[in-house]
């Protein structure tokens, strides 16, 4: 993880190296280093706290964090390219993103909730509480609006309920309104899907209450029904991103620009890349947001396939280590680790995927590597908690 972070600092440094010097971008790698060093200090401090404390503090922290998130909607400020988004709180000259803290805290609360149940969720109604728990901060984040972070919450939820022992059928039923939403853009596809869903529910009739089955169907129908109004309520840029995702050739000068340039950057990197700091797409400003959301494009351009595959391998190793740790720990710790894993995995898949066009463009940072103090700090806090848990278990 430290390796990923150091790699991240290096890439942020590289992202600042451009032909037309940009003083603000040239310096951010220093800031990132400072935050990283601070985070390590926080890790050392936090790891002295007994792991139990986190379990006790989970619910109170959740309430505080959700409240702060709500306040952010009122007093929050934008930052950088996301000027219109109210996601930052400014205190005494420092900027902080409450949503990042909310992710860790919600993970704690979710773990606490699911660990408190004696058995794994066997029925859909067992999933109502955890879903509600996540839905609250998720809704607040959506209102900022920050869809990327909202996705991370969903990833967290499913990872946690999976670890809690929920059967895959249940998870699919819980997720089914999401599919309905996506499929509703084609009426025939959607109709076929609903029929399939009803058949599936019938086959599982002994595992589900009728009320549950009905509510799944209703939720799916509702998802289909709100799809159009929801689409209309999306901002133009969001709609464009989805349209571009569906047809990646359109409007290369406008809406398709970011994706096209990112693909050009990654693709032109080849096997070995153009060399550290030497990416032309980046240096000449063709790449958008090269130090945050599109940092992986810089990796792809400058370090080539070697860089991208090694980075993904490192993430894979990290996640593998986390799963192995979760296996040997108590339910609360395991659930927490999986909740965090779900969050980070969502970040990695969505962020890396969008640079190459397999996922629609979403403003979501790459864990440890993208520039951003709040995310980095909270990632280390999460790491600290996991380290504490592992230590206390011994």
């Amino acid at each position: 993880m430290l390796l990923l972070c150091l790699f991240g600092v290096a890439m942020i440094y590289s992202a600042g190296v451009k032909n037309i010097p940009s003083p603000s971008l040239e310096r951010i790698w220093i800031r990132q280093t400072v935050v990283l060093l601070g985070s390590i200090v926080v890790l050392i401090v936090l790891s002295r706290i007994p792991a139990r404390w986190f379990e006790w503090l989970a619910m109170p922290l959740y309430i505080v964090s959700t409240a702060v998130l709500a306040v952010t909607l009122v007093v929050g400020t934008g930052s950088g390219a996301a000027e219109g988004v109210r996601s930052f709180i400014r205190i005494a000259g420092f900027q902080f993103q409450p949503a990042e803290a909310a992710k860790v805290v919600t993970a704690l609360a979710l773990a606490k909730l699911l660990a408190g149940q004696r058995e794994g969720p066997a029925y859909l109604r067992d999933l109502v509480k955890p879903m509600a728990l996540v839905a609250l901060p998720l809704a607040l984040v959506v209102l900022q609006p920050d869809l990327g972070t909202a996705l991370a919450f969903i990833g967290m939820l499913f990872a946690a309920i999976y670890w809690a022992g929920t059967s895959w059928q249940l998870i699919l039923f819980a997720a089914s309104p999401g599919f309905a939403l996506i499929l509703s853009f084609d009426t025939r596809l959607w109709s076929a899907y609903i029929v399939l869903l009803v058949v599936a529910l019938y086959l599982h009739r002994y595992r589900l209450y009728l009320v549950e089955s009905l509510s799944v169907v209703i939720a799916n129908l509702a998802a289909g029904a709100i799809a159009q109004p929801l689409w209309n309520s999306l901002a133009q840029y969001q709609r464009n991103r989805i349209l571009v995702f569906l047809d990646q050739e359109i409007d290369p000068q406008g809406a398709g620009w970011q994706l096209l340039q990112s693909k050009v950057a990654v693709g032109s990197g080849g096997v070995l890349g153009k060399g550290f700091t030497l990416g032309t797409q980046k240096r000449l400003n063709f790449l958008p947001e090269q130090h945050t959301d599109f940092i992986f494009s810089v990796v792809g351009e400058e370090l080539g396939f070697l860089g991208t595959s090694l980075t993904l391998l490192l993430f894979g190793y990290l996640f593998f280590r986390m799963i192995r740790m979760a296996e040997g720990l108590d339910p609360f710790s395991g659930l927490f680790i999986f909740a965090i894993l779900g969050t980070w995995l969502t970040h990695v898949i969505v962020n890396v995927g969008m640079t190459i066009g397999v996922v629609p463009i979403t403003g979501i940072p790459l864990p440890f590597i993208s520039y951003g103090g709040s995310f980095l700090l909270m990632a280390w806090v999460a790491a600290a908690i996991i380290v504490t848990m592992a230590r206390d278990a011994r």
């Binding site: 037309i20 693709g267 096997v271 032309t280 797409q281 396939f305 397999v358």
Partner: protein, 597 residues
């Protein structure tokens, strides 16, 4: 599941970065690199001694890299504060902006140094502006060579669309007239390409060396037959204030040693951006300096045509060299109910052919013409090639005018010609007009064996036969004997004889417009005494008056200058007999002077 998701991503990246890397690589390059045309320097045009008529100097071009139409418009407007942009170029620039053309838009191919300095100084305000040095045409010979060397200009849309200029880019300099036009394919060369690196907003970040740079291929050089020193000498001695032309041909090769036309202009005004004001002034000048009088203007040839009459007479056997005409010259000849005059009112008396040529006696040639007859005369002269062009390797040559048959009069004047028309034709009057070059080619044929190649300006030009008399060498020698007499004592151009060289010439005084002085002709072949002629020179001085007074000394002095150079004789001594007399000196090489005739 985690592994499969990450694995899937690795596969996707493999596809993009390994499998399709070259496609994306190309796209990244076309993102940041803008190709710029490197204009090739045109070939140098040199005279026979290597003196340049056209070479290259350094000019500046200004172009602007493409960006969004809005920003281009605002840059364009700001650039115009410092740089003058012609109307047509502005229009095409606006069109390119509208079309969102990715190519750089050329604003000037020849920006002044001041404008360039002003723009460079404000460089940061014009991040997309590209100022480059480029070869610019220069004409060191100035107005002396203007009509030969021609001019260049920027390629136009019509040419860009044509097959001849396939692949050419706007801004290419192409020949517009003269040699520049004629030998465009040799002179042009191949443009090269270099790249500049730009950032996403189109600002130039730097030139990108080493990337697929294609070197420009300079155009080929041209070596001409032309003798610039001789041209300048002609310019020096040509009667001041008068228009006209002098053509000098090398007897052996038919190469053009001089093709002088005046008035002229400074071709350097067309070397870069044509100044509209200057263009208007030149094209509307009543003296028409853009007009190449040596090959484009036609004049009644006058007396030099008498040799044609003599040749046809000899070849058809209607006269012999020693024949004297039944009617001796008494100053006029009566035919067809009217008197046909000789230029000598007192008359020449009875003459043989040599005497008739020496004295240019009209009455003699009237009678020869009547023996030949109108139809036969027309047929023979047309066979010789007087109705066509010489085939010179320059654009703009006009064909000579000579009636192709009796139909000419019907078409032109509405009546069948009477036999008397042949009297006019015999002395080079009537509906005849020839370019000075054509007269020179005709004299070249007399100086050679009766045939003459097409006059060539480029040393390696393919030569074709241009002119041919069906004539025996004996008869040609008779004609030459007559011409020799012209510059001997008693000849019409005696005073234009030379100390070192023999001039075989013929004066001509052709009627011009009513009330103006006549056009003055002299055509001659000149060479060492007793040797073969080496140079043929024809001079025409518009409204110059008598051929013997104006054109003859011009030709003699021109020949003398050239041949002295060829034979290593110093050029700083007196040339013609006239100058000896004017200096009050007698000479050993000329007989005592008779009265000038």
């Amino acid at each position: 599941m985690v592994a499969s998701l990450l694995g899937l991503l690795v596969v996707v990246f493999f596809r993009a970065q390994v499998y399709r890397a070259s496609d994306w690589g190309l796209q990244a390059d076309s993102n940041r690199l803008r190709p710029l045309t490197l204009p090739p320097p045109r070939g140098t045009i040199r005279d026979r001694t290597g003196r340049p008529l056209a070479d290259n100097t350094t000019g500046y071009s200004v172009s602007i890299l493409s960006a969004s139409p809005d920003s281009m418009m605002s840059s364009l407007n700001r650039v115009r504060e410092h740089l003058e942009i012609g109307d047509s170029r502005l229009a095409s620039a606006l069109q390119q902006i509208e079309d969102r053309s990715p190519r750089p838009i050329l604003l000037s191919v020849d920006a002044s140094f001041d404008a360039v300095a002003a723009l460079e100084e404000r460089g940061s305000a014009f991040p997309r502006l590209l100022i480059e040095t480029r070869p610019k045409r220069r004409y060191p010979a100035g107005e002396v060579g203007a009509h030969i060397v021609g001019s260049v200009g920027e390629i136009n849309q019509q040419e860009l669309d044509s097959e001849q200029f396939e692949g050419a880019q706007p801004g290419l300099i192409v020949g517009r007239s003269g040699i520049e036009w004629q030998y465009e394919s040799i002179l042009r060369g191949q443009p090269g390409v270099r790249y500049v690196e730009v950032d996403a907003s189109g600002r130039i970040v730097g030139s990108h060396r080493g990337f697929r740079r294609v070197e420009e291929q300079p155009g080929g050089d041209l070596d001409l037959h032309l003798d610039l020193d001789l041209m300048e000498w002609i310019h020096h001695i040509f009667p001041e204030g008068l228009g006209g032309a002098v053509v000098a041909l090398d007897v052996e090769t038919g190469g053009i040693l001089a093709l002088y036309a005046t008035p002229s202009y400074d071709p350097n005004v067309f070397a870069g951006v044509v100044d509209q004001e200057e263009w208007r002034r030149l094209s509307q000048d009543p003296a028409s300096p853009l007009f190449n009088r040596a090959i484009t203007a036609k004049y009644p040839p006058g007396s030099p045509m008498k040799l044609v009459t003599a040749l046809i007479g000899l070849e058809t056997g209607v006269i012999s060299p020693t024949d004297r005409m039944p009617v001796a010259c008494g100053g006029s000849y009566y035919y067809g109910g009217r008197l046909w005059r000789c230029w000598e009112e007192e008359g020449h008396g009875s003459l043989d052919l040599t005497g008739a040529i020496k004295n240019s006696c009209n009455v003699y040639f009237y009678q020869v013409a009547l023996r030949i007859g109108l139809l036969r005369m027309l047929e023979r002269v047309n066979q010789m090639g007087f109705g066509g062009t010489c085939g010179v390797d320059l654009p703009g040559e006009t064909a000579g005018t000579y009636p192709e048959g009796p139909e000419y009069w019907v078409r032109r004047y509405g009546y069948r010609p009477r036999e008397g028309e042949v009297l006019n034709l015999a002395i080079g009057q009537g509906p005849i007009a020839q370019t000075p070059l054509m007269v020179a080619q005709y004299f070249l044929a007399i100086a050679r064996d009766g045939s003459a190649p097409s006059p060539a300006i480029y040393r390696d030009a393919p030569t074709t036969e241009g002119f041919r008399f069906e004539v025996s060498q004996e008869n040609l020698e008779v004609i030459r004997e007559g011409l020799r007499g012209v510059t001997e004592a008693g000849g019409t151009a005696y005073l234009s004889s030379l100390e070192h060289f023999e001039v075989l010439g013929k004066t001509g005084t052709a009627q011009s417009v009513e009330g103006s002085p006549n056009h003055s002709w002299f055509a001659a072949s000149v060479g060492p005494r007793g040797g073969a002629p080496e140079i043929v020179i024809v001079a025409l001085v518009q409204f110059g008056g008598s051929g013997s007074q104006v054109a003859a000394p011009l030709v003699s002095k021109t020949a003398d200058f050239y041949l002295r150079g060829q034979h290593g004789i110093p050029r700083d001594t007196i040339q013609t007999l006239r100058e000896y007399f004017q200096a009050g000196r007698n000479t050993a090489w000329a007989l005592p002077a008779n009265e000038e005739r």
